[in-house]
């Protein structure tokens, strides 16, 4: 039940933040209990954008269901698609050509940067600075253009298919990615000037919304949210997939667990992703971009699970197959859902302005939570 709008017995104010609210970046509905400016309790009400993709996928074939996962975490749609394709390949015991694997990693990392860049702008906007948002879109636009050229769409690409990728890279891809890497490397210090080193931003985020390591694990947090608390949970490192084990990169970590360290972890991650791209862009192996597959895919009876690291954390696909052409049951383990469950614990006792900052630092994408 949504509480009667009013006050609690102790005289605390109950406020509905959302489903339409500038701070929620979507249709998240939070019922918060306020004592003055201090937040006593946060209770999320979900489902405003629930489409039951899991049920839909039960009637879609193994080729068809991948596109729908782009609509979950729309900011890391490539990575979601990647995970689905990987699960199907695991079931089919299909070997992905080397070229396809490299293309996949390149696309994943570009998506991760696009997502983090957008998050950076949105986080600054949550805290009240508008200008970074537009600066962030400048760089994100370059990635979108690259995606548009190679994949044919800007946001929901559906580029990954079981066995590889849909098309080969566009001839311009190499040049454009190089230009983008150069541009972002130049602009990252500007980002720092505008936001990271800003005294107001620091005072708003340092020591705010501390999530301890134990709590982060217990709440099932993943991705930068958990890594800021000192949990080494980068799936790319801990359970490497698709050749990430061959690459040189660091797991962005921090131990403070506050909003500022969650911010810093993502900033470091952008630089790490850039270095991954730089390692791969000149070494894309020649060969097929797609393995030969049958027209109709049938997974053997059994259960298949694969996990990837999206921009928000650990994304998992759990397929239960009965041997048919469609999955019997499919479950998407979305990072946002678990991260959101830690929100209440993190926010209690903080100010209402901190709630917005903490939500921003969790980087919640609502369709990812609702599915």
């Amino acid at each position: 039940m949504v509480e009667e709008i009013g006050t609690t017995d102790e005289g605390d104010l109950i406020i509905n933040i959302g489903p339409q609210h500038p701070a929620t970046h979507g249709v998240l509905h939070l019922v918060i209990t306020l004592n003055g400016e201090t937040v006593r309790k946060v209770e999320p009400h979900l489902g405003y954008i629930h489409r039951s993709i899991e049920k839909m996928c039960e009637s879609l074939s193994y080729r068809q269901f991948i596109y729908s996962t782009s609509r979950m975490d729309y900011l890391s749609s490539h990575i979601n698609n990647h995970c689905c394709a990987m699960t199907v390949e695991k079931g089919l015991q299909l070997e992905v050509p080397e070229r396809a694997a490299v293309i996949r990693i390149l696309m994943d990392e570009l998506t991760r940067i696009a997502s983090h860049v957008l998050w950076w702008g949105a986080m600054a906007m949550d805290i009240g600075a508008f200008t970074p948002f537009f600066h962030a879109f400048r760089e994100r636009e370059m990635i979108n253009d690259i995606m548009e050229e190679t994949c044919g769409a800007r946001l929901t690409m559906n580029y990954m298919v079981p066995g590889g990728v849909q098309f080969d890279l566009h001839p311009n891809f190499h040049r454009r990615v190089k230009a983008f890497v150069k541009q972002l490397r130049n602009k990252l210090p500007e980002y720092d000037e505008l936001v990271t080193h800003n005294a107001i931003f620091k005072s708003r985020t340092k020591g705010v919304g501390i999530l301890s390591k134990e709590d982060a694990i217990s709440y099932g947090c993943s991705g930068p949210t958990a890594r800021a608390s000192g949990v080494d949970c980068d799936i790319r490192k801990t359970y490497p997939y698709e050749g990430y084990e061959k690459l040189q990169f660091e797991q962005a970590m921090s131990t403070d667990g506050d909003t500022y360290s969650r911010y810093l972890v993502r900033m470091v991650e952008m630089r790490q992703s850039l270095s991954i791209i730089e390692q791969l862009i000149d070494n894309i192996p020649e060969g097929d971009f797609q393995a030969k597959t049958k027209a109709v895919l049938k997974l053997p009876k059994g259960e298949f699970y694969s996990r990837v690291e999206t921009a928000r954390g650990e994304f998992g696909v759990y397929i239960v197959s009965e041997g048919g052409t469609t999955p019997y049951r499919i479950k998407f383990r979305s990072p946002g859902f678990s991260n959101l469950s830690a929100l209440d614990h993190t926010v209690r006792g903080q100010k209402i302005g901190d709630l917005v900052a903490i939500m921003g630092s969790f980087d919640l994408v609502i369709p990812d939570i609702d599915r």
Binding site: P44, I217, S218, S222, E303, F304, E314, Y318, K331, D370
Partner: protein, 151 residues
């Protein structure tokens, strides 16, 4: 620990445990009544230390429901899958949200989508669906009255 070692360590503690292999990770079937105690053991044992519940879901097999718990250890990096079979007409299992707090939300989701009742859950009500929703959408016999594609 490798999969075999996990199976050995667990069957040593609970000889009646049914294990399945063949998948990527070891699978164990537990009785629904034993699950909270078993879960606490998995979480607390120093050599197992399954502190990370990364996936909690349910599968409707038309004759029965199966709860599926994917567990992982952030210390040892090993994973297991634990399953519990539930009666379809009155599914009930103990909650594990006092062991892994992420289970609170996941169990609420399973509650509304499959109708599984989690005893001792602190706040078992609809999370995603509206409060007055009738039916359990992810069960196989649920028919959506408004189906865009069929229309």
């Amino acid at each position: 620990m490798t999969n075999e070692e996990i199976i050995a360590a667990l069957t040593e503690r609970k000889p009646e445990l049914v294990s399945e292999t063949g998948g990527e990770w070891p699978n164990f079937m537990v009785a629904a009544a034993e699950w909270p105690g078993f879960a606490a053991m998995l979480r607390e044992s120093e050599d197992l230390w399954f502190d990370y519940l990364f996936c909690l879901t349910c599968v409707d097999w038309k004759t029965h429901l199966t709860m599926v718990y994917h567990l992982s250890s952030t210390r040892y990096r090993h994973n297991i899958v634990v399953k519990a079979t539930l009666d379809r007409s009155a599914p009930e299992i103990g909650t594990v949200c006092n062991i892994w707090r992420t289970a609170e939300f996941h169990e609420r989701e399973v509650f509304e989508m499959f109708g599984v009742h989690f005893s001792d859950h602190p706040d078992l009500r609809n999370l995603i669906l509206p409060d007055d929703w009738v039916g359990y959408p992810l069960r196989k016999d649920y028919d959506d009255p408004v189906n865009m594609i069929k229309m």
